[in-house]
């Protein structure tokens, strides 16, 4: 049977390592993905990602299954394996999605990244 527990603070059984539930709720990643961005793109694994649009070379838009409350969330990305100068550029966020580009830092050109990683933390709607 499903159950619901309402508490403000968690501690270990010894009464140490206290953490407020606000930190649990606010501090956990609300979405993340590891994407194969080459060829026909495919999610390797993800959380709270409903799908990813391939916008062209090195340009992707992951959408969230459960949206953020606004566009003021924190996000980060990383590339690697397909380009020795891998970088991820995050464009203007939206509550329901985040445009990003994998691009080479040495010349600024977009490229398709086999291991495109992205994570977002903030307040869900």
């Amino acid at each position: 049977m499903a159950s619901e527990l309402r508490v403000n603070t968690l501690k270990d059984a010894s009464g140490n390592n206290s953490i407020g539930l606000s930190y649990v709720a606010e501090g956990t990643a609300k979405a993340w993905m590891s994407l194969n961005g080459t060829g026909t793109i495919a999610l390797r694994d993800s959380f709270n990602i409903s799908g990813v649009v391939d916008n062209g070379t090195g340009s992707y838009t992951p959408s969230y299954s459960s949206n953020f409350g606004n566009a003021n969330y924190s996000a980060s990305g990383a590339g690697g394996s397909s380009n020795s100068n891998a970088n991820v550029r995050l464009n203007t966020p939206a509550a329901g999605s985040q445009d990003l580009e994998t691009r080479a830092s040495n010349d600024g050109s977009n490229y398709d990244e086999a291991y495109t990683r992205f994570t977002a933390t903030g307040d869900l709607a």
Binding site: T28, W32, G80, T119
Partner: protein, 144 residues
Amino acid sequence: MASQLKVDTITGVTTAGSIAVTGEGNSTTTNLQQGLFKMWADLSGGGTPAIDDSTNTSSVTDVGAGERRINLTNSMSSTNYMVIAGMINDGNSGGARGAAGHHLGTQATGSVQYKTMYGSTASSDGNLTDSHTQEGAGIAGDLA
């Protein structure tokens, strides 16, 4: 009324590894286990990297100049996890730097390897570097 729960382990009722947490907007839930970073580490950079603070790390291996391998205490279930890495851009004499998860062939269930490197400069395009003082990495995904 304020409440406080003292426990060592939290386990889901329907599925042991799945606990829902109500989101900040009170209209949806997020999965606690999926949202937790399964590894994070703050390392002193330089030629001999050292872990200053971390969770779920057993050691760091200095693979070579600008290349680390963080070994996990509890392994991931597959190599499909998400990893991010970054570095402080200090002691910079070669131009802007960035960091990237690299050599995904060595992204194993029990360890993750990444490089720290310069960004683009006239003299250094993506060369590996140890000349910084702090870096960090994190993993989200499924534990074994």
